[in-house]
Structures are given as C-alpha cells and as structure tokens.
C-alpha cells in the first residue's frame, strides 16, 4: 500500500494566538489516498475552509504535521509552498477567480507559465484542457465576462488541471451555479476522479456527497463520525 497523498497528523490551527484563541481546527487526523473522492462537509465556522486552506498549502498548521504527496510542508518556506501548490494542487474556487483581462485560454495557461512551460506547448495543452473541460472551442478567446457561470467554472477546472496535479481542491464548486449546471460540473469532476485524480471538495450541499466515496464531517474544528450532526 503506497503512502497517502494527503496526510494530516494531529493538525491544529489556531487563529489569534494569545488571549482570545480560536481553535479553527483541533487535532485533526486525516488520510486521503491517491484517487479518492473526498467531500468535506460542515456548517459555516466548522473549520472546513481552514482545512481546505491547509491542504492547499495556502496556510500553515499551528501544530501537527501535514504531508502532501509525501512532502512534509512544515519545513518549507513561502517559495517551497508555492512549488507544492504549483506541481501538486489544482484549485477550483466558488467565485471561479479567473483573471478578467485574460482570455479563457490564457487563464488556463497561467499555471503552466509559472511552471516555465514553453509557449507552443502551453498553447496546445491549454486548448486540449478546455476541450477536456467541455468548453466549446469558440469560447477559448473570450474574456471571463463574456462567459456564463458554468463556462467560467469549466475554464477554472481546465486551469486547475494545467500542470497535471495529483490533487484537485474545490471550494463549493457549484455554489454559484444553478442546479443543472452544477450537476454537469460535478459530472465533469467525477469523470476526472475516475481518471485517477484525487478530488477533495468542500461543500455544504448534501447532494455532492452522492458522488464521493468518503465524507469528512467537521464540527467546531473537530473531525467527527458520520452522525455528529
């Protein structure tokens, strides 16, 4: 059995260390294997965003060990974390977070640019990824404000896949979409998961858990069993 792709051991995140401490996450022990589809559920303030930010290496744990793809992140500096994000993690945001001045294709190219991929390769790969994400080719040169919400999220998914990361992190990927579009996006994501990509989705939409094989429930910063709600 190979080691887990994401591993948290006794991970605690405390905001405002000092008098008014907030334990956003308390002694979390989580292990996610390559190819898993995990949903993280919990009400707002349960710590699910904190967990996502930690796994995404956007934030560091206060205590405990976090391993991504076997690498202990506590020893890494800012640029080290950047490299982990670039090579291992694809982000999908609720707000899509596309860069408004760039076309769909250019948005997909951004992570490849920072990975120093040559121009020709970037062009070709970005078009392939847009096709993979089911965006019609004619929209490749459209700016985000010329695209619908569903189309924007498809561009964002293509961008997340740019550097072929083993992990996809999605924060409420369907939160800003109508239910039909949301369903299509979830179908796309689970197809990617079937292809071998580890998928971690934060949501409070119960329907999404139907697609996943594991659900992690959080309450007041603690990981709890299936019935804690």
């Amino acid at each position: 059995m190979s080691e887990p792709i994401v591993e948290l051991r006794d991970v605690t995140k405390i905001y405002r260390p000092g008098a008014n401490q907030i334990h956003a996450l308390n002694m979390a022990n989580i292990s996610i294997d390559q190819g898993d589809f995990v949903t993280i559920m919990g009400s707002s303030g349960s710590g699910k965003s904190t967990l996502l930010n930690l796994i995404g290496c956007l934030d560091r744990p206060t205590h405990g060990t976090l391993r991504i793809n076997g690498i202990d992140t506590s020893t890494l500096n800012d640029d080290g974390l950047t490299a982990i994000r670039r090579d291992n993690i694809g982000f999908i945001f609720q707000q899509f977070n596309l860069i408004p001045t760039l076309t769909a294709q250019e948005n997909v190219e951004i992570p490849m640019i920072f990975a120093r991929m040559p121009l020709a390769e970037r062009h070709e790969r970005s078009l392939e990824l847009l096709t993979l994400a089911d965006l019609e080719a004619e929209f490749a040169d459209h700016k985000p404000n010329e695209l619908s919400g569903g189309q924007q999220q498809r561009v964002a998914i293509a961008r997340a896949l740019a550097n072929d990361p083993p992990i996809l992190l999605a924060d409420e990927p369907t939160g800003n979409l109508d239910s039909r579009t949301g369903q299509n996006i979830m179908k796309l994501l689970s197809e990617l998961n079937t292809g071998g990509t580890t998928l971690i989705v934060v949501t409070h939409d119960k329907k999404i858990t139907e697609y996943s094989n594991t659900t992690i429930r959080l309450q007041d910063g603690e990981v709890c069993d299936e019935y804690c709600e």
Partner: protein
C-alpha cells in the same frame, strides 16, 4: 529573431503589456509624467551644453597660449627680458606686442579700436586675411579687424585717420571672435614705424608678449621657467596661461549644465512619485488576482518581476518618447534663450539626451520597486479573501 520570439513569448512580458493596457488612460498619464521629466532634463542639459559650445567657439582655440605682461609697478617689457624668454625651451613663437587704443575716423564717421604694432610675420601667425593683403614693413598701410571694417563701412583701399595721421587699409581680417591675446576684430594693425609715428612719446619696450608653446602639455612647465628666469630678484613680469581660462569656462558651464539638469530632474522626481502612485493603485486593485496567481504557482519573485517589468516597460517607452521629443525641447530652449539652434545636433548634446533617457528609466524602476515588493509579499490567502 530568436530573442524577439523569446521576448514575445515571455509571460512576464505578455502580462506586463496586458496590465499596462488595461488602464490605458492611467498608464498614459503616468507616461506623460516621465516624458515631461525626460524632456525637461535633456533640454536643460542641451541648453547648458549649447551655451558652453557657443562661448568656447567664440573664444577659439587659445589653450596653448601664454601672455606675458609687465608686473604691477613695471611699465613695459624690455627687449632684454624678451631675449631672456627666448632661452626658455618648449616655446614655439614669441610675439612682442605694442598696443594702444584710439579713435578711428573715416568719412565723418568714427569708432574706437585697439591699435597694434606687430611684425608682419608675427601677425600672420595670429590672424587671417579675409580681403586684401598684409602691410609691408615700414609702410603707412594698415589692416583692420572685421568689426571696425563693418561699422565704418571700410573696404580695401579706404583711407582712415588716427590722431591726424592718415593710413591706407590694405587688408581686412577674418572674424575671429573674442580673444584674450589681441582683440582682432576691433584692432588696427600697422608696422612699427607707423606706430612710432603715431605714439612718439612711448617708452622703449613692449606692452605684452604672446607666447605659444610647442606642446599643450608643456604649458605650465614653460610658464614656470619664464617666471623663474625673469622674476628671480623681484617680480617684473606676470605670466598668464590661457588654458586656465578655458578650463575655468569648461568648469563653469559644466556646473551650469548640472544645475539646469537638477532643475529639470524635479519634474522627473514628480513623475517617479506618480509611477509609484499608479503602480500602488494597480497592486491594490489586483490584490485578488495576485492571490489567484500565487495559489496556482506564482512565486514571490514571479510577482516581483511581473510588476517591475510593468514599471520598466512604462519607463523605457515613455523615456524613449521623451528622448525623441527632447530634440524639440532643445530646439525651443536654444531658440528662445540662445537665439541660435546650430548647436542642437552636437554630439555632446546627444549625450545629454541619453542621460535624460537613462534617468527616466531609472526613475520608473525606482517608482515601481516598492509596489512590486509589496505585491510579492502578499500572503495568498489574504489576497484571495480580498474583495
């Protein structure tokens, strides 16, 4: 070709270009600031430099000349002293000069000028004839400077009158400009016999001695040995080296140019602050975008370079435009202040334009540094949360 392709496909370049064009008006205003700054610096530099060029042109090439005059308390330089000077090595020419000033009349008109007695051979070394010829030794003929010829409307063959003595103008000299040895343009030159006839009461001896040296480097050496030889017991002559004048003029105008450029650089400073402002606003507006870029793998250096390159593009573009327009600015100040634009294209002026361009680029980069650094230091999570 490869470098061009490389540059075009460089993503920093692409991003910088795109970001500059997203707020066209703001970019344009910041660019105008730099353009004005570069024009101001270059034009002021050109003005100072043109002033210097026009003055040194009118002074002429006098650097290798020494002028020996009687020390205070002495009336003249004696023939014996001249003989002593001849023994100094490194001297090319020794030209004894008798000089006075007088009123010159011609057909009812009159002007004042300097009267000189120089040997014909010596005079030929110092001046050039424009019309006519030099006088013969012992004759009552004379040659006159261009300014006297113009103001009295003299031609070759005109008969002028000085102190009731009439003499014939046989030559008119080429204009030479301001000089410290002899005033060529306002001078009347005649033989020693004629000069003696005009001023019979003068003491024996010369008013000044013009000495040129064989090599410019030796000028101070020659000056010292003349002083040692002649002023052994008491000071009887003053030796004045012309290169100290030209050096002094150079120094004064270099300072003037720097001062003028300093005034011009104030506007560049203001432009730098406006770049700082524009870039800082741009980083604030793009906080979220910076967060996204960091999330998908942009390192601190990536972000730093992205913004610095924007500042650099702005700086290079605006400074080059400013450099081109500086020719116009230089033309204008030279026309308005010097009333002479012939020095505009002098090679040294191109130097001042280049300096303006370089300063413009440096200012832009400095203005862009803090915003770029600030953007690179943003924490991705804070930046992503920013609305």
């Amino acid at each position: 070709m490869n470098i061009v392709n490389e540059l075009q496909s460089n993503m920093y370049v692409q991003l910088a270009r795109r970001n500059l064009t997203r707020q066209t008006v703001r970019t344009l205003l910041a660019a105008i600031g730099i353009i004005i700054g570069v024009i101001a610096i270059s034009s002021m530099g050109i003005l100072g430099n043109s002033l210097k060029l026009s003055v040194s042109d009118s002074i002429g090439d006098i650097g290798d000349t020494l002028i020996v005059g009687p020390a205070p308390g002495e009336d003249v330089i004696t023939e014996k002293q001249v003989e002593q000077m001849r023994k100094v090595s490194g001297i090319e020419l020794i030209i004894p000069v008798l000089q006075s000033g007088d009123k010159i009349d011609y057909r009812g008109g009159s002007t004042f000028g300097s009267t000189y007695s120089l040997e014909k051979e010596d005079l030929q070394e110092l001046v050039e004839i424009e019309h006519g010829r030099f006088f013969r030794p012992g004759s009552t003929d004379c040659v006159v400077g261009s300014q006297i010829a113009t103001s009295l409307e003299l031609g070759v063959g005109s008969k002028i009158e000085i102190s009731d003595s009439r003499m014939r103008v046989v030559g008119i000299l080429k204009e030479r400009g301001l000089g410290f040895d002899i005033s060529t343009d306002t001078g009347v030159f005649m033989s020693s016999q004629m000069y003696e006839k005009l001023y019979p009461d003068e003491d024996d001896g010369y008013d000044s001695i013009i000495i040129t040296v064989t090599e410019l480097d030796k000028i101070n050496e020659v000056k010292t040995s003349i002083e040692e030889r002649l002023n052994k017991r008491e000071e009887v002559v003053n030796v004045f080296a012309m290169n100290t004048i030209t050096e002094g003029i150079d120094e004064v105008f270099r300072s003037l140019s720097l001062f003028l450029m300093g005034i011009g650089s104030i506007s560049l400073l203001v432009a730098g602050v406006s770049i700082l402002n524009v870039m800082l606003m741009s980083t604030m507006e793009r906080t979220k975008e910076i967060g996204v870029m960091k999330a998908v793998g942009a390192s601190r250096n990536d972000i730093l370079w992205m913004f610095l390159l924007e500042a650099l593009f702005l700086g290079v573009g605006a400074s080059l435009i400013g450099g081109v327009l500086s020719f116009g600015g230089g033309f204008l100040v030279n026309y308005l202040i010097l009333d002479d634009v012939s020095y505009l294209l002098a090679p040294t002026n191109l130097l001042y334009i280049s300096a303006g361009i370089v300063f413009g680029i440096i200012t832009s980069l400095i203005g862009g540094m803090y915003p770029a650094w600030k953007a690179s230091q943003m924490r991705p999570l804070d930046a992503l949360r920013h609305e």
